[in-house]
């Protein structure tokens, strides 16, 4: 299979595939970060996570339309406004959902799964009723189009670089909030021992609500970033949900670092294999490998050792 390529070509192909893998990696990290907070830290299985991402994507789409119509001069920068709006919209919806639904179910994790699946169906149909069943695409500002030539044979798309930078910034911010800030300490305290955390004066209900909101808000940003890579339809969220859960579970649910490491290995494996076989077989083999490894190491790659 390598016969037709020279060494230089192969190097370029691997570099390009590697870069495609890095973009996929950024996408996976963005998808999984919110879930790592909600599932990993709170233990809530949010099957509607994909729909929160799609909400962010639709907010971005509306913002881009609004800028085109009313503020064409500021269009190149609309994306930053859109991301903030996506975060707020998804986060607010997340807090509402936590208040109406999730807080009744903290002791029944399998039931959160069913309830949030129901929520995802409702949201899908709502998107379909409001935005129509067709997929929508966002028009990118001029500076994000095109690609950057690194050597003669290697070129990388600019929107890919932008998504990667964005991922890095958001990951750093989440890591800071969860591990350095006072609020992150409270979150971790509530996760480890809800009763004790309450006894020392932490308002656990409030922490739960904001944590869930933060997770959903990050999902909204992820969805916003997706609009630069592909188009969005009412059921796009469902395509991501299994991948996202596998990334989080594979990395070890409670570890943010594990989530990043597993996103990296899964995305690189998949994009490298995609070059040698059809996309669907690459996906099947990747997922099979993850399931097999999870069967050998059920707690994921980077599990925290805890006494139960």
């Amino acid at each position: 299979m390598f016969g037709d390529y020279s060494i230089g070509d192969l190097g370029a192909i691997f570099a390009m595939q590697g870069f495609a893998g890095l973009i996929l990696f950024s996408v996976y990290v963005l998808m999984a970060l919110g879930l790592a907070i909600i599932f990993g830290q709170m233990g809530v299985i949010n099957m509607a996570h994909g729909e929160f991402m799609i909400l962010g994507a639709y907010v971005t789409w509306m913002t881009s339309n609004a800028f085109q119509a009313y503020l064409p001069s500021l269009f190149p920068g609309y994306f930053f406004v859109a991301m903030i709006l996506a975060f707020i919209a998804a986060g607010a919806l997340g807090m509402l959902v936590e208040w109406g639904l999730i807080r009744h179910l903290y002791k029944r994790p399998l039931d959160t799964l069913l309830a949030t699946w129901g929520l995802s169906l409702i949201l899908q149909q709502a998107y379909r009723s409001i935005f129509g069943a067709r997929e929508v695409g966002v028009e990118l500002p001029q500076w994000m189009l095109g690609s950057k030539q690194i050597t003669d044979t290697i070129e990388v798309p600019i929107n890919g670089i932008f998504v990667m930078c964005l991922t890095f910034l958001i990951t750093a911010a989440v890591a800071y909030v969860m591990y350095k800030s006072r609020w992150g300490r409270q979150v971790r305290a509530v996760v480890q021992n809800r009763v004790m955390a309450g006894a020392v004066g932490i308002n656990t209900e409030k922490v739960d609500r904001y944590t869930f909101g933060l997770g959903c808000g990050i999902a909204g940003i992820a969805g916003s970033a997706f609009t630069m890579i592909g188009s969005t339809g009412p059921t796009s969220g469902q395509l991501y949900i299994v991948d996202t859960f596998l990334v989080v579970v594979f990395g070890g649910a409670a570890s943010l670092f594990g989530t990043i490491a597993s996103a990296f290995s899964i995305s690189q494996a998949q994009s490298t294999m995609e070059f040698f076989m059809s996309g669907s077989m690459a996906k099947v083999l990747t997922l099979l490998a993850i399931v097999a490894i999870l069967m050998m190491r059920p707690q994921g790659l980077f599990a925290l050792k805890v006494r139960k």
Partner: protein
């Protein structure tokens, strides 16, 4: 708790009521088209029945039952397809004698794993054994390592996703996204005309009662009580010396086999099989049938399946927009408001009413019938 006798009085009443509905009322009141729809719904109730055993009793939520439903369905579909693709029927193909979709995909020889499906006996064995062995492998790998609960649910869901992608991707071997269509005869007997549909309906109901009896037997045997004990306090069962993993594997395998029988009956009744009955979405919908019926109630599984599907058909016929809202709301309501589903409503509201009426009539006789409709339903199941 009820006496461990197999088939208590309430079970017999439940069986009789279900038999009256399925054997007498529905066939007499519905035309063949609607009866065939009921037959289609009932195939899902096999899956729901299996979920009562493994989720309701055993506490193992599998989101991959569509996998086993699909394996059973594809097994039957492969046999029927081979019979429909005889050399005489497929003369116009470049390779006569193989299924049409293989010919379209430039495959010139029947793949090896299709060969056993020339024989009906081997097909039936495959339908029963392949999904069960597959479930055993998954179950053994997971439960022996004490993986359960949420992780198990997510991994079974991933397996459902894998199988769907595989079936769609390997179009030449599986028929791809269209599935296996244009099925005609079973051992020369045409499955398409109306009278065949009626016969198949009754065959299916017979199988369903077989599975219900088996489920009732499991529930009343010591096995069923260990399953419930395991769900409530796994460690105590383990400390008492039982191999928790083996019981879980058994429940999961039995559920898989039920699902496979349902899948095979689906192919016969509906006349095709496609990956849209294998993946994540159908698998979760099957869980909701169980939840609506009452996750602890064997009969509830059948009623829940029928009810949700009737609602789905009638709503999506008249208000296609509303159906997903309705289904979503149903998920949420079942979890938040009726964790024991229809069976719970029956037990808490209808049964006491009936009991009161009966005891009023039989005043004097000391008759306190506190028996539940759901089998071992003591409060909501703990997760």
């Amino acid at each position: 708790m009820e006496s461990p006798r197999f088939l208590s009085r309430s079970d017999l009443i439940g069986l009789a009521a279900l038999a009256l509905l399925l054997v007498v009322i529905l066939p007499l009141s519905l035309d063949v088209f609607r009866l065939n729809l009921v037959a289609k719904y009932l195939t899902y109730s096999f899956v729901a029945l299996g979920l009562v055993l493994c989720w309701g009793f055993g506490g193992i939520l599998s989101l991959g039952q569509g996998v086993f439903f699909g394996l059973g369905g594809y097994g039957m579909a492969m046999y029927l397809k081979l019979e429909a693709s005889s050399v005489a029927n497929t003369k116009i193909q470049s390779t006569p004698g193989i299924p049409d979709f293989m010919d379209w995909n430039q495959i010139t020889q029947l793949p090896l794993f299709w060969q056993p499906f020339h024989s009906l006996t081997l097909t039936i064995l495959a339908i029963l054994i392949v999904p069960t062995v597959f479930a055993y492998l998954i179950g053994a790998a997971m439960f022996k390592r004490r993986v359960g609960g949420v992780y198990f649910a997510i991994i079974t869901q991933a397996i459902a996703a894998i199988l769907t992608i595989l079936i769609i991707g390997q179009q030449g071997y599986t028929g791809g996204i269209n599935g296996i269509t244009d099925l005609r005869t079973l051992k020369g007997w045409d499955i398409r005309p109306d009278h065949a549909k009626v016969v198949l309906y009754f065959v299916e109901v017979a199988f369903l009662f077989g599975c219900i009896l088996l489920a009732l037997f499991v529930r009343h045997a010591k096995l069923g009580r260990i399953l419930v004990a395991m769900r409530e306090k796994e460690d105590r069962v383990r400390f008492s010396g039982y191999s928790v993993a083996n019981f879980k594997i058994f429940a999961f395998c039995l559920a898989a086999m039920f699902a496979a029988i349902g899948g095979a009956m689906f192919t016969l009744n509906v006349g095709f099989m496609s990956p849209s009955f294998v993946g994540i979405v159908p698998s979760i919908e099957m869980v909701i049938y169980t939840a609506v019926g009452g996750r602890l109630s064997i009969f509830g599984a059948v009623y829940g399946t029928l009810l949700v599907n009737f609602a789905k058909t009638s709503l999506s016929e008249s208000f296609p927009q509303l159906w997903l809202f309705g289904l979503g709301a149903l998920f949420i309501a079942v979890v938040l408001i009726f964790p024991n589903g229809l069976a719970g409503i029956w037990r808490d509201h209808v049964q006491p009413l009936i009991d009161r009426l009966i005891s009023k009539r039989k005043s004097g006789s000391d008759h306190s019938n506190g028996k539940s409709f759901g089998p071992i339903a003591d409060g909501t199941p703990a997760e």
